[in-house]
Symmetry: C2
Subunit: 196 residues, 2 copies
Protein backbone atom coordinates (compact mmCIF):
# COMPACT_ATOMS: atom_id res chain seq x y z
CA UNK A 1 0.00 0.00 0.00
CA UNK A 2 1.30 3.44 -0.92
CA UNK A 3 1.08 6.12 1.76
CA UNK A 4 1.68 9.83 1.41
CA UNK A 5 4.76 11.11 3.25
CA UNK A 6 4.56 14.65 4.66
CA UNK A 7 6.64 16.91 2.42
CA UNK A 8 8.66 18.11 5.42
CA UNK A 9 9.82 14.48 5.84
CA UNK A 10 10.57 13.81 2.17
CA UNK A 11 14.33 13.89 2.78
CA UNK A 12 14.03 10.76 4.90
CA UNK A 13 13.27 8.72 1.82
CA UNK A 14 16.76 9.42 0.41
CA UNK A 15 18.77 10.08 3.57
CA UNK A 16 20.40 6.64 3.55
CA UNK A 17 21.88 7.11 0.07
CA UNK A 18 20.05 4.55 -2.09
CA UNK A 19 20.48 4.26 -5.82
CA UNK A 20 17.41 5.82 -7.45
CA UNK A 21 15.42 5.61 -10.65
CA UNK A 22 14.77 8.87 -12.50
CA UNK A 23 11.45 9.28 -14.35
CA UNK A 24 11.05 11.88 -17.08
CA UNK A 25 8.30 12.74 -19.54
CA UNK A 26 7.69 15.38 -22.18
CA UNK A 27 4.88 15.21 -24.69
CA UNK A 28 4.64 11.63 -25.93
CA UNK A 29 8.10 10.65 -24.75
CA UNK A 30 8.96 9.19 -21.37
CA UNK A 31 12.04 7.57 -19.93
CA UNK A 32 13.47 5.84 -16.88
CA UNK A 33 17.15 5.67 -15.91
CA UNK A 34 19.18 4.76 -12.84
CA UNK A 35 21.29 7.25 -10.87
CA UNK A 36 23.52 6.74 -7.86
CA UNK A 37 24.37 10.42 -7.39
CA UNK A 38 21.25 11.82 -5.77
CA UNK A 39 20.64 13.28 -2.31
CA UNK A 40 18.41 15.59 -0.29
CA UNK A 41 19.35 19.28 -0.32
CA UNK A 42 16.92 20.82 2.15
CA UNK A 43 14.01 20.09 4.49
CA UNK A 44 11.57 22.94 3.97
CA UNK A 45 10.71 23.40 1.27
CA UNK A 46 12.04 19.91 0.56
CA UNK A 47 14.68 19.88 -2.16
CA UNK A 48 16.79 17.21 -3.78
CA UNK A 49 19.70 17.18 -6.21
CA UNK A 50 20.58 14.56 -8.81
CA UNK A 51 23.43 14.41 -11.30
CA UNK A 52 22.17 13.66 -14.83
CA UNK A 53 24.60 13.61 -17.76
CA UNK A 54 23.74 16.13 -20.47
CA UNK A 55 24.06 13.47 -23.16
CA UNK A 56 21.03 11.55 -21.91
CA UNK A 57 17.44 11.48 -23.12
CA UNK A 58 16.43 11.91 -19.47
CA UNK A 59 18.25 15.23 -19.26
CA UNK A 60 16.64 16.46 -22.47
CA UNK A 61 13.14 15.50 -21.32
CA UNK A 62 13.66 17.11 -17.91
CA UNK A 63 14.95 20.35 -19.37
CA UNK A 64 11.99 20.44 -21.76
CA UNK A 65 9.33 19.65 -19.15
CA UNK A 66 10.85 21.21 -16.02
CA UNK A 67 9.95 18.17 -13.91
CA UNK A 68 11.35 14.80 -12.87
CA UNK A 69 10.71 12.10 -10.31
CA UNK A 70 13.02 9.99 -8.17
CA UNK A 71 11.97 6.53 -7.04
CA UNK A 72 13.72 4.15 -4.65
CA UNK A 73 14.05 0.69 -6.24
CA UNK A 74 14.45 -2.58 -4.37
CA UNK A 75 16.60 -5.67 -4.28
CA UNK A 76 13.94 -7.37 -6.41
CA UNK A 77 14.45 -4.66 -9.06
CA UNK A 78 18.27 -4.81 -9.15
CA UNK A 79 18.60 -6.34 -12.63
CA UNK A 80 16.07 -3.82 -13.88
CA UNK A 81 18.13 -0.96 -12.41
CA UNK A 82 21.24 -2.14 -14.21
CA UNK A 83 19.22 -2.53 -17.40
CA UNK A 84 17.60 0.92 -17.44
CA UNK A 85 20.98 2.34 -16.40
CA UNK A 86 22.68 0.66 -19.38
CA UNK A 87 20.19 0.99 -22.23
CA UNK A 88 19.96 4.39 -23.91
CA UNK A 89 16.41 5.71 -24.22
CA UNK A 90 17.47 7.74 -27.26
CA UNK A 91 18.77 4.62 -29.02
CA UNK A 92 15.37 2.95 -28.55
CA UNK A 93 13.75 5.97 -30.20
CA UNK A 94 16.31 5.93 -33.01
CA UNK A 95 15.60 2.25 -33.64
CA UNK A 96 11.84 2.83 -33.63
CA UNK A 97 11.40 0.57 -30.61
CA UNK A 98 9.03 1.00 -27.70
CA UNK A 99 10.33 2.86 -24.66
CA UNK A 100 11.89 1.20 -21.61
CA UNK A 101 8.57 0.90 -19.77
CA UNK A 102 7.16 -1.14 -22.63
CA UNK A 103 10.33 -2.96 -23.60
CA UNK A 104 11.08 -4.18 -20.08
CA UNK A 105 7.50 -4.58 -18.88
CA UNK A 106 7.78 -2.00 -16.12
CA UNK A 107 4.48 -1.47 -14.30
CA UNK A 108 3.96 2.22 -13.80
CA UNK A 109 1.42 4.61 -12.36
CA UNK A 110 1.00 8.33 -12.88
CA UNK A 111 2.45 10.57 -10.19
CA UNK A 112 -0.32 12.28 -8.21
CA UNK A 113 0.82 15.88 -8.75
CA UNK A 114 2.88 15.97 -11.95
CA UNK A 115 1.62 12.86 -13.73
CA UNK A 116 5.13 11.46 -14.18
CA UNK A 117 5.46 7.73 -14.97
CA UNK A 118 6.51 6.09 -11.68
CA UNK A 119 7.69 2.45 -11.37
CA UNK A 120 5.02 0.67 -9.34
CA UNK A 121 7.39 -1.88 -7.76
CA UNK A 122 9.56 0.78 -6.11
CA UNK A 123 9.24 1.63 -2.40
CA UNK A 124 9.30 5.45 -2.54
CA UNK A 125 8.43 8.09 -5.10
CA UNK A 126 9.25 11.80 -5.13
CA UNK A 127 7.90 14.09 -7.83
CA UNK A 128 10.00 17.24 -8.27
CA UNK A 129 9.93 20.54 -10.11
CA UNK A 130 13.30 21.75 -11.39
CA UNK A 131 14.25 24.84 -9.39
CA UNK A 132 14.63 28.15 -11.23
CA UNK A 133 18.25 28.27 -10.06
CA UNK A 134 19.01 25.37 -12.38
CA UNK A 135 21.28 27.58 -14.48
CA UNK A 136 23.88 27.96 -11.77
CA UNK A 137 24.21 24.19 -11.45
CA UNK A 138 24.29 23.50 -15.16
CA UNK A 139 28.07 23.26 -15.44
CA UNK A 140 27.95 20.42 -12.89
CA UNK A 141 25.11 18.48 -14.57
CA UNK A 142 23.39 18.86 -11.21
CA UNK A 143 19.61 19.12 -11.29
CA UNK A 144 18.09 20.72 -8.20
CA UNK A 145 14.40 20.00 -7.63
CA UNK A 146 11.70 20.97 -5.19
CA UNK A 147 9.76 17.92 -4.02
CA UNK A 148 6.04 18.38 -4.65
CA UNK A 149 4.81 14.88 -3.81
CA UNK A 150 6.32 12.13 -1.67
CA UNK A 151 4.94 8.63 -1.24
CA UNK A 152 6.28 5.39 0.20
CA UNK A 153 5.40 1.72 0.54
CA UNK A 154 3.76 1.36 3.96
CA UNK A 155 5.17 -2.15 4.31
CA UNK A 156 8.70 -0.81 4.66
CA UNK A 157 8.24 2.88 5.55
CA UNK A 158 6.17 3.77 8.59
CA UNK A 159 6.24 6.00 11.69
CA UNK A 160 8.43 8.40 9.76
CA UNK A 161 11.25 6.09 8.75
CA UNK A 162 12.38 2.97 6.95
CA UNK A 163 11.91 -0.43 8.59
CA UNK A 164 13.66 -3.02 6.44
CA UNK A 165 13.53 -6.59 7.66
CA UNK A 166 16.66 -8.64 7.06
CA UNK A 167 15.23 -10.88 4.33
CA UNK A 168 12.86 -8.43 2.69
CA UNK A 169 13.27 -8.27 -1.12
CA UNK A 170 12.04 -4.69 -0.86
CA UNK A 171 15.23 -3.40 0.78
CA UNK A 172 16.90 -0.53 -1.06
CA UNK A 173 20.08 -1.11 -3.07
CA UNK A 174 23.34 0.82 -3.17
CA UNK A 175 25.47 0.70 -6.31
CA UNK A 176 29.20 0.24 -5.80
CA UNK A 177 29.99 0.08 -9.52
CA UNK A 178 29.91 -2.21 -12.54
CA UNK A 179 26.44 -3.57 -11.86
CA UNK A 180 27.37 -4.65 -8.32
CA UNK A 181 25.17 -3.44 -5.47
CA UNK A 182 24.92 -3.91 -1.75
CA UNK A 183 21.53 -4.25 -0.12
CA UNK A 184 20.91 -2.83 3.32
CA UNK A 185 21.65 -5.16 6.22
CA UNK A 186 20.96 -4.83 9.91
CA UNK A 187 19.41 -1.87 11.67
CA UNK A 188 21.52 -0.15 14.27
CA UNK A 189 20.41 2.09 17.13
CA UNK A 190 23.14 4.42 18.34
CA UNK A 191 23.66 6.74 21.27
CA UNK A 192 25.38 10.04 21.91
CA UNK A 193 28.58 9.24 23.83
CA UNK A 194 28.72 12.75 25.27
CA UNK A 195 27.08 12.05 28.61
CA UNK A 196 27.90 15.37 30.23
Amino acid sequence: MRIEVPLAQASRLLNHGPTVLVSSQHGNQRNLMAAAWAMPLDFKPPKVAVVIDRQTLTRRLIEASGVFALSVPTLAMADLCTTVGSVSGQSLIDQGREDKFGRFGIDQFSGPVLGLPLPAQAIAWLECRVLPDFGVFDAYDLLPGEVVSAWADAEVYRDGRWHFEAADPRRSIHHVGGGVYFTLGEMLHTRNLDAS
Copy 2:
Protein backbone atom coordinates in the same frame (compact mmCIF):
# COMPACT_ATOMS: atom_id res chain seq x y z
CA MET B 1 46.54 -0.85 5.65
CA ARG B 2 45.69 2.35 3.81
CA ILE B 3 46.09 2.32 0.05
CA GLU B 4 45.96 5.23 -2.35
CA VAL B 5 42.96 5.20 -4.69
CA PRO B 6 43.50 6.67 -8.18
CA LEU B 7 41.81 10.07 -8.27
CA ALA B 8 39.80 9.03 -11.33
CA GLN B 9 38.21 6.34 -9.13
CA ALA B 10 37.57 8.53 -6.09
CA SER B 11 33.82 8.61 -6.77
CA ARG B 12 33.64 4.88 -6.05
CA LEU B 13 34.31 5.54 -2.39
CA LEU B 14 31.01 7.42 -2.05
CA ASN B 15 28.95 5.90 -4.86
CA HIS B 16 26.91 3.68 -2.50
CA GLY B 17 25.67 6.64 -0.44
CA PRO B 18 27.29 6.16 2.98
CA THR B 19 27.01 8.64 5.82
CA VAL B 20 30.32 10.51 6.02
CA LEU B 21 32.42 12.37 8.53
CA VAL B 22 33.55 15.89 7.57
CA SER B 23 36.96 17.09 8.76
CA SER B 24 37.82 20.78 8.88
CA GLN B 25 40.75 22.79 10.16
CA HIS B 26 41.81 26.42 10.20
CA GLY B 27 44.70 27.76 12.23
CA ASN B 28 44.57 26.09 15.63
CA GLN B 29 40.97 24.97 15.32
CA ARG B 30 39.78 21.68 13.92
CA ASN B 31 36.47 19.89 13.89
CA LEU B 32 34.69 16.70 12.88
CA MET B 33 30.99 16.32 12.14
CA ALA B 34 28.70 13.76 10.51
CA ALA B 35 26.81 14.37 7.25
CA ALA B 36 24.37 12.16 5.36
CA TRP B 37 23.95 14.52 2.41
CA ALA B 38 27.13 13.97 0.42
CA MET B 39 27.74 12.50 -3.02
CA PRO B 40 30.12 12.44 -5.98
CA LEU B 41 29.62 15.14 -8.61
CA ASP B 42 32.10 14.20 -11.32
CA PHE B 43 34.78 11.71 -12.33
CA LYS B 44 37.56 13.80 -13.86
CA PRO B 45 38.58 15.89 -12.20
CA PRO B 46 36.90 14.13 -9.30
CA LYS B 47 34.42 16.33 -7.49
CA VAL B 48 32.09 15.85 -4.56
CA ALA B 49 29.31 17.87 -2.96
CA VAL B 50 28.26 17.97 0.67
CA VAL B 51 25.53 19.94 2.41
CA ILE B 52 26.86 21.75 5.51
CA ASP B 53 24.60 24.05 7.48
CA ARG B 54 25.86 27.62 7.66
CA GLN B 55 25.38 27.69 11.44
CA THR B 56 28.10 25.14 12.06
CA LEU B 57 31.72 25.51 13.14
CA THR B 58 32.59 23.13 10.31
CA ARG B 59 31.16 25.51 7.73
CA ARG B 60 33.06 28.44 9.20
CA LEU B 61 36.36 26.54 9.25
CA ILE B 62 35.86 25.33 5.68
CA GLU B 63 35.05 28.78 4.35
CA ALA B 64 38.11 30.19 6.14
CA SER B 65 40.52 27.49 4.96
CA GLY B 66 39.04 26.55 1.57
CA VAL B 67 39.48 22.84 2.25
CA PHE B 68 37.65 19.91 3.83
CA ALA B 69 37.83 16.13 3.95
CA LEU B 70 35.19 13.42 3.80
CA SER B 71 35.77 10.07 5.50
CA VAL B 72 33.65 6.93 5.38
CA PRO B 73 32.99 5.67 8.92
CA THR B 74 32.12 2.11 9.89
CA LEU B 75 29.62 0.13 11.90
CA ALA B 76 32.16 0.11 14.73
CA MET B 77 32.10 3.95 14.66
CA ALA B 78 28.32 4.35 14.66
CA ASP B 79 27.98 5.77 18.19
CA LEU B 80 30.84 8.13 17.42
CA CYS B 81 29.05 9.33 14.27
CA THR B 82 25.93 10.14 16.23
CA THR B 83 28.04 11.87 18.85
CA VAL B 84 30.04 14.13 16.52
CA GLY B 85 26.81 14.78 14.63
CA SER B 86 25.08 15.89 17.86
CA VAL B 87 27.72 17.84 19.76
CA SER B 88 28.44 21.38 18.58
CA GLY B 89 32.12 22.12 18.01
CA GLN B 90 31.45 25.79 18.69
CA SER B 91 29.88 25.01 22.08
CA LEU B 92 33.03 23.11 23.09
CA ILE B 93 35.08 26.21 22.21
CA ASP B 94 32.66 28.44 24.10
CA GLN B 95 32.99 26.21 27.17
CA GLY B 96 36.78 26.18 26.93
CA ARG B 97 36.81 22.43 26.41
CA GLU B 98 39.07 20.39 24.18
CA ASP B 99 37.85 19.70 20.64
CA LYS B 100 35.95 16.59 19.57
CA PHE B 101 39.11 14.69 18.62
CA GLY B 102 40.42 15.09 22.16
CA ARG B 103 37.11 14.88 23.96
CA PHE B 104 36.04 11.63 22.31
CA GLY B 105 39.49 10.09 21.92
CA ILE B 106 39.38 9.99 18.13
CA ASP B 107 42.62 8.68 16.61
CA GLN B 108 43.55 10.88 13.70
CA PHE B 109 46.27 11.24 11.11
CA SER B 110 47.16 14.16 8.88
CA GLY B 111 45.85 14.01 5.34
CA PRO B 112 48.71 13.50 2.87
CA VAL B 113 48.01 16.52 0.66
CA LEU B 114 46.13 19.07 2.76
CA GLY B 115 47.10 18.00 6.27
CA LEU B 116 43.48 17.76 7.41
CA PRO B 117 42.76 15.72 10.58
CA LEU B 118 41.38 12.39 9.34
CA PRO B 119 39.77 9.77 11.63
CA ALA B 120 42.10 6.77 11.57
CA GLN B 121 39.38 4.16 12.14
CA ALA B 122 37.45 5.11 8.98
CA ILE B 123 37.70 3.07 5.76
CA ALA B 124 38.08 5.85 3.18
CA TRP B 125 39.38 9.40 3.19
CA LEU B 126 39.00 12.11 0.55
CA GLU B 127 40.74 15.46 0.93
CA CYS B 128 39.04 18.22 -1.08
CA ARG B 129 39.59 21.82 -2.09
CA VAL B 130 36.45 23.96 -2.20
CA LEU B 131 35.77 24.83 -5.84
CA PRO B 132 35.85 28.50 -6.87
CA ASP B 133 32.22 28.15 -7.97
CA PHE B 134 31.24 27.85 -4.33
CA GLY B 135 29.36 31.15 -4.49
CA VAL B 136 26.68 29.82 -6.83
CA PHE B 137 25.91 26.98 -4.42
CA ASP B 138 25.92 29.12 -1.30
CA ALA B 139 22.16 29.59 -1.11
CA TYR B 140 21.83 25.79 -0.92
CA ASP B 141 24.50 25.29 1.78
CA LEU B 142 26.08 23.00 -0.79
CA LEU B 143 29.87 22.79 -0.74
CA PRO B 144 31.42 21.55 -3.98
CA GLY B 145 34.96 20.22 -3.68
CA GLU B 146 37.64 18.86 -5.97
CA VAL B 147 39.15 15.68 -4.56
CA VAL B 148 42.93 16.01 -4.26
CA SER B 149 43.70 12.82 -2.34
CA ALA B 150 41.78 9.57 -1.99
CA TRP B 151 42.72 6.65 0.23
CA ALA B 152 40.94 3.52 1.42
CA ASP B 153 41.37 0.60 3.80
CA ALA B 154 42.78 -2.24 1.71
CA GLU B 155 40.97 -4.80 3.86
CA VAL B 156 37.59 -3.69 2.51
CA TYR B 157 38.43 -1.77 -0.69
CA ARG B 158 40.44 -3.53 -3.37
CA ASP B 159 40.47 -4.15 -7.13
CA GLY B 160 38.69 -0.83 -7.58
CA ARG B 161 35.67 -1.42 -5.36
CA TRP B 162 34.26 -2.19 -1.95
CA HIS B 163 34.26 -5.80 -0.71
CA PHE B 164 32.32 -5.89 2.53
CA GLU B 165 31.97 -9.27 4.20
CA ALA B 166 28.67 -9.92 5.92
CA ALA B 167 29.94 -9.74 9.49
CA ASP B 168 32.67 -7.14 9.05
CA PRO B 169 32.46 -4.32 11.62
CA ARG B 170 34.09 -2.13 8.98
CA ARG B 171 30.99 -2.01 6.77
CA SER B 172 29.78 1.52 5.97
CA ILE B 173 26.65 2.89 7.66
CA HIS B 174 23.64 4.69 6.21
CA HIS B 175 21.68 7.05 8.41
CA VAL B 176 17.90 6.81 8.22
CA GLY B 177 17.27 9.40 10.91
CA GLY B 178 17.22 9.92 14.67
CA GLY B 179 20.48 8.09 15.31
CA VAL B 180 19.25 4.96 13.52
CA TYR B 181 21.44 3.53 10.76
CA PHE B 182 21.45 0.55 8.46
CA THR B 183 24.70 -1.23 7.71
CA LEU B 184 25.29 -2.74 4.31
CA GLY B 185 24.15 -6.33 3.83
CA GLU B 186 24.69 -8.77 1.03
CA MET B 187 26.52 -8.11 -2.23
CA LEU B 188 24.49 -8.50 -5.38
CA HIS B 189 25.71 -9.06 -8.93
CA THR B 190 23.21 -7.95 -11.55
CA ARG B 191 22.82 -8.34 -15.29
CA ASN B 192 21.48 -6.28 -18.14
CA LEU B 193 18.11 -7.81 -19.10
CA ASP B 194 18.31 -6.36 -22.60
CA ALA B 195 19.65 -9.40 -24.38
CA SER B 196 19.12 -8.14 -27.90
